[in-house]
């Protein structure tokens, strides 16, 4: 666990404020037993199971849309977006609502965990061998006790134009 191993260039290479400041708070979530995190300031809401209207002809990652206090939110199945299999029907799952350029998106995940405050010391850039699909939507990895947390980059997660090429 020597922090000195962390290459100093990494901190600059991403240029994201996540890396620049000291402690960062993340909302954690689990998808297929893997822990993910989203900067807490980007999260608008955490929802339980919701009734979702399917949208025909939409990309498969778009699960549908739902009504969040009078606003229409597009639900994204993060499992499919990450190239995983769809969630089994019997597990209800939860959602994290994020705002991207004024539009609300609900990220459907298996479960939402606690909010963690992490130091940049534990941050590391994506391993070069990471699945390209994941590397595309992740800013880096936090080493936690006993597990790793993948930081999701929301704008890139919702940038669907890259899906076709991926």
């Amino acid at each position: 666990m020597s922090n000195a191993k962390l290459p100093s260039t990494v901190r600059k290479s991403r240029g994201d404020d996540i890396v620049v400041s000291g402690n960062q708070d993340f909302v954690t979530m689990t998808i297929a037993d893997q822990m993910f995190g989203i900067p807490v300031l980007q999260v608008q809401d955490v929802l339980g199971h919701q009734r979702i209207t399917r949208i025909p002809l939409a990309p498969p990652e778009v699960a549908g849309s739902l009504n969040l206090r009078g606003r229409i939110v597009t639900a994204i199945d993060v499992r499919l977006r990450l190239g995983l299999t769809g969630r089994p029907k019997d597990k209800p799952g939860m959602s994290i609502v994020v705002d991207l350029r004024g539009e609300l998106y609900s990220l459907m995940v298996d479960s939402v965990g606690e909010v963690l405050s992490l130091t940049k010391e534990d941050f590391e850039r994506n391993p070069a061998t990471l699945d390209p699909r994941w590397r595309e939507v992740s800013t880096g990895i936090y080493r936690l006790n006993g597990q790793l947390m993948v930081v999701l980059d929301v704008p890139r997660l919702l940038n669907f134009t890259t899906i076709e090429t991926a």
Binding site: P56, L57, S65, N67, R69, G70, I72, T74, Y105, F160
Partner: protein
């Protein structure tokens, strides 16, 4: 106060505030064209509004300022502090005039000649290095408090000032402008101020922003502040003026509050939420028989409904509100331009989102003004071109599919493509070569570019090249499109299409495969229930469902298939009972098959998320009363996704062009049977009508069968000369008509009409037959209609016509066409009509005839020919050949306006669509008479 006037005051005051700030910014960044054109537009708007409100004094000042700004924009003048001060001064004058206007509802008498003269001088570039006193003229005193108090004494003062002005010899008088804008009473007290101000002699063109700002002359800096506070404050009056302005902040402004649309939007969302909660409460109440909550909930119910309605209303306005100014505008324009204009407004109650309405108001005004000024001709010109003296401008607004369409149509002269081209070249927007390869539609687009105006003369109505680019920017800002259609001599139509975003529509809620969808009620014609036990059943043509509806076949679209919905409940269910939503898009009617139909609901259309915008089946989504999200189907999208029909959309234009190209060889053929042998065919365009003749009415005249037809005798000609007409029964007849004469060709049976490429493969030996071709997969005899016409005419009308022709020598026609079919078809036709026809198969042969010394009265030429095209041929004939005076008629399957123009340019006198026999004969006659008249 007049609504119009108060609105004008609010608007102009706002614009002036913006202008103050923008002008200062411009001075700092003189090379910012965007800033400059924005300023120019604002001043133009002020001028325009003044113009149609009948405020000549204001208009003159604004006009003069606009002139100067125009020179800036065109780069004829460099922006310097003097000029900017001058314009600011003009703005101050406008402000003071506005103050009086607000207090008295009338413009103060008098004029602002000295200021205008200075502005004009400046526009001419003669305002060089003026004395400091002139360069930094004292801004007029704030017209604030005195505006009301001194309204009585003001005119007197003004008159005095005017007298003073009139006695001084105008522009050379340097201190003159100092007092010029001082339309107020406080001149004397304010006069010393400017002396202390530094003369703004520094050249601020240096793009170094900071020092420039620091050096900013006193009169400008405070103005920015005053402008920011939005008041009618006059610039140099500095801080105390600002305070006064605040207290004064016109009575007009107090009547309305401008609210941020976001605020309304939030309110709307909250109210929707409230409605949902109320609905849930009511639901609970229903299940409880007796509850003490019943009465208060009922009240809550009412209040919520009213609140919802109220909030909705804040956003929606009938489009008529935006049109309210137009009748007046048009009336004044008509006077000014000496035109007679009739303005018709249809669909004024079409509701539009407030924000959208605001944004299209200016574009609409501009466009109507353009139509009146550029589009409509003066009465004399209209009479000459055979139109009524009064020009008409029609405004029409309606919902279509998910959009609101606004049409501005005039019956004027249409857009002058040539002039647009010239102008485009002049302004360096395109080279001649580029223009040549552009379609008319592309050329028309130039009028939307900034700085473009085709008006030969800049009038104060329009013609400065603001206008259309503003229109386009504003419309595109709200996600709309603008389409221009123009027919030379017939007028032009501007179609604005605005997405229905935010607008409230009534929608039909349907269900398909367990999912609910909304269909805009506006495009729903009717609902039909189709089931095995009902009178309507769905039939299938090679799997394609259709429905018989009132003796017509209605194409059906399965929503389930279209949206690729998988029905988990089993497909069998859909067969039992299906509902068909009969939908109309434009002229195309089709049915959408759904499983269930619920009721209609008022919905607020919300745009779909950006990642879903590419799905054209949906025009938006919405939240229903029960809180669920529902997708709104776009009938336009469904129609274009399923139908083969040509939707005259902008995107479709390219493809239509291609289609015409492809279809040019094809023609509609009428297939029929007559006598023995192969089925026969004749070009449909030659056939005037199909009739079913009762054989009992056939009479014999001169030994030939005739029938009374439309009050005339029509000879009946059988294909087979040995054919014996039965005495009774009915017989189908193809009627060929020529002028008021017609001939009936007796056939046995009319088989079909097909579109085929006609390729005569075997030349015929028998008279009356052109040859044989493969049509609809069968060997078919193509009949020579000309032959039968000759038969009928010779036998029946022959003698009289013949005599007529003998009186004058036969007109000689040269026919140039590469297709033997047409040569064979037209030669007899023209001969029958009394022309002496010489047919050649290409332009080269024709020119050879010219060389050989042949003479013709008229040349008829095809356009699409191998080798030399018709256009090239015409040019060759026109330029230097012996035949350069011989009239030419073009013959082509393309008869669009653009082709017509091209033909005219090449030298054709007339342009006729192929297969249009009557038109050809008429054109020939016309051309020859014209020629005679000219000779």
């Amino acid at each position: 106060m007049d609504d119009l006037l108060s609105e004008f005051l609010t608007e102009t005051n706002e614009n002036l505030s913006v202008l103050d700030v923008e002008l200062v910014r411009l001075e700092q960044n003189p090379n910012n064209p965007e800033l400059l054109s924005n300023i120019f537009r604002l001043v133009h708007t002020i001028k325009g509004t003044c113009g149609f409100l009948g405020l000549p004094r204001l208009e003159k000042v604004a006009h003069a300022s606009e002139n100067v700004l125009g020179k800036f924009r065109d780069g004829e003048l460099t922006i310097n502090p003097e000029a900017v001060s001058l314009i600011l001064q003009a703005l101050d004058t406008i402000k003071s005039l506005l103050a009086v206007l607000e207090a008295t509802e009338a413009e103060p008498p008098g004029d602002d000649l000295p200021l205008i003269e200075r502005l004009n001088l400046c526009a001419e570039g003669k305002l060089g290095g003026p004395a400091p006193a002139a360069a930094a003229p004292p801004p007029p005193p704030p017209p604030t408090a005195p505006a009301v108090a001194a309204s009585e004494s003001r005119p007197v003062t003004l008159d005095e000032l005017e007298a003073l002005w009139n006695s001084t010899p105008g522009p050379n008088d340097i201190p003159a402008p100092a007092a010029a804008p001082a339309a107020g009473t406080a001149v004397a007290t304010r006069a010393p101020e400017p002396v202390e101000e530094p003369a703004p002699s520094q050249d601020l063109v240096v793009p170094d922003a900071e020092p420039a700002a620091a050096k900013m002359p006193a009169p400008v800096a405070p103005m920015a502040n005053a402008g920011g506070s939005g008041g009618g404050s006059a610039g140099g009056g500095a801080a105390d003026a600002g305070a006064e302005a605040a207290t004064k902040e016109s009575a007009v402004a107090a009547q309305t509050i401008r609210v941020n649309v976001d605020l309304l939007e939030n309110l709307m969302t909250m109210v929707s939420e409230l409605v949902l909660t109320r609905n849930q409460l009511l639901q609970i109440l229903r299940s409880q028989k007796e509850s003490e909550f019943a009465a208060p909930l009922q009240r809550l119910n009412h209040v919520t409904s009213e609140l919802q309605e109220g909030v909705m209303k804040t956003r929606m306005q009938p489009i008529g509100n935006a049109w309210a100014k137009l009748p007046r505008l048009v009336r004044d324009l008509a006077h000014e331009l000496n035109k007679k204009i009739d303005l018709q407004m249809l669909g004024a109650d079409t509701e539009l989102d407030r924000q959208v309405l605001e944004l299209i108001k200016d574009p609409l005004t501009h466009m109507v003004r353009n139509s009146a000024d550029h589009g409509l001709e003066i009465p004399a010109e209209r009479l000459k071109s055979g139109k009524s003296e009064t020009g008409r401008i029609t405004l029409n607004a309606y919902h279509e599919g998910g959009h609101i369409i606004i049409e501005i149509q005039d019956d004027g002269k249409g857009l002058a493509i040539d002039r647009i081209k010239q102008k485009a070249i002049q302004n360096g927007m395109a080279s001649e070569g580029e223009l040549a390869s552009m379609t008319d539609q592309q050329i028309i687009q130039f009028i939307m570019k900034p700085g473009f105006s085709t008006a030969a003369k800049v009038t104060n109505v329009s013609g400065r090249g603001v206008g259309m680019d503003v229109v386009k920017t504003n419309i595109e800002k709200i996600g709309g499109t603008i389409e221009i259609k123009s027919v030379q001599g017939k007028g032009s139509t501007f179609v604005i299409k605005i997405p229905l975003t935010l607008a409230i529509v009534s929608a039909l809620i349907v269900e398909c495969a367990g999912e609910r969808f909304a269909i805009p009620q506006i495009s729903v014609v009717e609902l039909v229930r189709a089931a095995s036990d009902s009178e309507h059943t769905i039939e299938r043509l090679k799997g394609t469902p259709v429905l018989r509806l009132r003796n017509r076949l209605l194409p059906l679209v399965s929503l389930q298939q279209l949206l690729r919905l998988d029905d988990s409940e089993g497909a069998a269910k859909t067969e039992d009972e299906t509902f068909i939503v009969v939908t109309q898009v434009g002229t195309y009617t089709f049915g959408i098959m759904v499983d269930r139909v619920f009721d209609t609901e008022e919905i607020v259309v919300k745009p779909v998320a950006p990642i879903l915008r590419h799905i054209e089946m949906f025009s938006g989504n919405t939240i229903l009363g029960d809180g669920s999200v529902i997708m709104i189907l776009d009938p336009n999208g469904i129609a274009s996704a399923t139908g083969e029909m040509a939707m005259g959309e902008a995107a479709g234009k390219e493809t239509t062009a291609v289609q015409t190209q492809r279809q040019e060889d094809k023609m509609a053929l009428l297939l029929f049977r007559a006598g023995e042998g192969a089925p026969k065919a004749v070009p449909l365009s030659l056939v005037a009508r199909l009739e079913d003749v009762d054989l009992a009415t056939v009479e014999l005249s001169n030994g030939l069968p005739v029938v009374q037809y439309r009050g005339k005798l029509m000879p009946l000609v059988p294909i087979n000369p040995n054919f014996v007409i039965a005495n009774e029964g009915r017989q189908p007849v193809l009627v060929f008509a020529d002028g008021d004469r017609s001939m009936g060709l007796i056939v046995d049976e009319i088989v079909d009409i097909v579109e085929e490429k006609l390729n005569v493969q075997l030349a015929a030996e028998r008279p009356g037959l052109m040859g044989s071709a493969i049509i609809a997969g069968k060997a078919t005899e193509v009949i020579d209609a000309g032959f039968f016409l000759t038969q009928a005419y010779k036998d029946w009308f022959g003698s009289s016509t013949q005599e007529g022709f003998e009186e004058e020598k036969l007109q000689r026609v040269l026919l140039v066409d590469d297709s033997p079919f047409f040569r064979n078809l037209l030669t007899p036709l023209l001969s029958v009509a009394g022309y002496d026809v010489t047919a050649v198969e290409n332009a080269g042969d024709a020119l050879a005839l010219c060389e050989a010394g042949e003479d013709f009265d008229v040349i008829v030429s095809d356009i699409e020919m191998p080798g030399m095209s018709g256009f090239d041929f015409a040019e060759a004939v026109r330029h230097g050949s012996r035949w350069h005076r011989v009239p030419m008629v073009a013959l082509s399957s393309h008869a669009s306006a653009r082709d017509l123009d091209r033909g005219r340019i090449a030298g054709f006198n007339d342009y006729v669509a192929k297969f249009d026999r009557d038109a050809l004969l008429f054109a020939l006659q016309q051309t020859l008479t014209e020629q005679k008249g000219a000779a």
